[in-house]
């Protein structure tokens, strides 16, 4: 029923890919979580990974910065390239990969430290000098749209922030180490509408500088913030394309069913 072959426009009509995923497969024992995924994720673009729960979209995004390797039971095949360089090359340390491809998770994961130290966490790992840390933290907080709310009390505990603020702090923390790509795994799933709105505004600004990949099961969110959509189902890519094309004129029946809410 599902055609595994790649929709033709993925490689041809989109902008040139920053991240190129080729024949990516992930399996747990005999069960295939991802099956032969080939995708091109362009620079300075918000790409949404859309699909019902259990379709493998979280596993997919965790493959993009090798977080997937933290589950030793999973077997990974295929390749992921950042500007032509294979992330899974034996010579490459995952820690370096993750400094260029940042990630934010479903729930805010602020550390029990001050707001400033949270944002500076990644910088402190390399003992950057204080001026540079100050500058980078301020810059990151501004880009994450949090600066105006917190610049007066950066020494306050980050745990005192609201959920939405915490999530933006996590985005700032990831931005502070200057990644080329930011991965967002359902970043608003634990937030209220207001928090969600702020995150979405932040994401729309981010694409002016970097590539953003956002996982979501919410069609509305994909429509509001993404430029391109890849629709996943049962571990495969069903359809890829510009957001309005996919959401308004889906070619595949599965995509249409999902968009119109006939399954979730």
């Amino acid at each position: 029923m599902i055609d595994g072959s790649l929709p033709s426009d993925a490689a041809s009509s989109g902008p040139p890919g920053l991240l190129e995923v080729e024949h990516l497969g992930v399996s747990a024992g005999s069960r295939k979580i991802l099956d032969d995924v080939t995708l091109s994720l362009p620079d300075r673009t918000v790409s949404a990974v859309l699909g019902p729960s259990g379709c493998g979209k979280t596993t997919f995004i965790r493959c993009l910065n090798r977080m997937v390797e933290l589950s030793p039971a999973l077997k990974i095949v295929g390749s992921v390239r950042l500007l032509g360089r294979d992330l899974y090359d034996r010579e490459v340390d995952p820690a370096l990969v993750r400094r260029r491809i940042g990630m934010v998770f479903q729930r805010p994961t602020v550390f029990p430290q001050s707001i400033f130290e949270n944002a500076a966490f990644g910088l402190r790992l390399v003992h950057a000098d204080e001026d540079e840390v100050d500058r980078s933290v301020m810059d990151a907080l501004k880009r994450a749209g949090l600066w105006d709310e917190v610049h007066d009390d950066l020494d306050r505990s980050a745990l005192a922030l609201s959920g939405g603020q915490q999530q933006r702090l996590c985005i700032a923390r990831a931005l502070a180490v200057k990644p080329r790509v930011l991965l967002l795994d359902e970043p608003t799933s634990s937030l209220d509408p207001h928090g969600t709105q702020r995150i979405e505004a932040t994401v729309r600004h981010l694409k002016e500088e970097i590539a953003v990949v956002i996982v979501t099961h919410n069609v509305g969110q994909a429509a509001r913030i993404s430029d391109r959509v890849a629709f996943f189902h049962a571990g495969r890519v069903v359809e890829v394309g510009a957001t309005p094309d996919i959401l308004e004129r889906p070619r595949e029946a599965l995509t249409e069913q999902f968009i119109t809410g006939r399954f979730t």
């Binding site: 933290l70 998770f105 550390f111 966490f121």
Partner: protein
Amino acid sequence: MSSPLSPPEPPARPRFRWAQVPPLLAAAFPVALLIGIVVTLAVAGLGFGWLLNPSVNWNPSTGDPSQASFGILVFVVGSFVTALPALVLVLLLSLAIGAATALYLPRRVSLLLNGFVDLLAGIPSVVYGIWGFWIVAPVFGTTLNPWINTHLGFVPGLGGPVPSTGIGIPLAIFVLTLMALPLTAVLVRESLLAVPVAYREAGLALGATRYEVFRRILLPFARRRIGGAALLGFGRALGETVAVFMVIGDATKLPFNFFDLSFTVPGVLVGQFDSAFIQPNYLAALAQLGLVLLAFSLVINVGGRWLVGRVGRGGIAMPEAA
């Protein structure tokens, strides 16, 4: 036809039932036993007024009881110079075990190794004692202690004579470390594992190495409970009785150097009870010392339990993110 709704039953009135008495008594028993222990020691110990004094002069003076002096400084010093180094060692080992379990070793391997650590807790105290006295002491006396003495003798306290039997403070520290390790290791391990996986992943996603995740995320998150684990381990080391008595040499004087013989508070409680039977004020002094140890133990355990929180009941004070 009767009404479809029967009249409401009168609300159940809490009524005294005899069947409730045994469970309530049993529930109150821990509190009662604790109070009973304190009262018993107080009654046994305070008949002659306060006998203990903070000097080095421990002289029960069996010939003339009125000349007795019960200075406890020797034992207090002995307890601390053995329990504190043991605590440091226990904490280092526990952190290594916790880090290995949480980050570095595959699950199966760490499960097996942790089983051995847990087994340490099951070995009877007196077995550690006889093992230390006959098997380990010669190694300390002929090899380890002289080696430390030769190579680190310039450090104050590590120079000077070394008894060749191996009995003494270093051996007591060694045995105490083993005996306090399982409790602390379990608590440290649990508190590290209780740090949500999401936080470890957040660190790794920022390009942290496993060590940095341990140092900058697991440790700060688990700091409070690790402190509690250390305190409880310290309490166990301070209260350990039989094994330490058997390997420390029971010298009623301040230790001359690190390798000297010494004596601890629980050691004198267990070691001199037999001689105190015939002399009422001697017996009362020991009971008073027992009261002091009891008070110490209660304070340390209350503090430790408070810091650790209740393990396994969801009472872990973990900052919730959302």
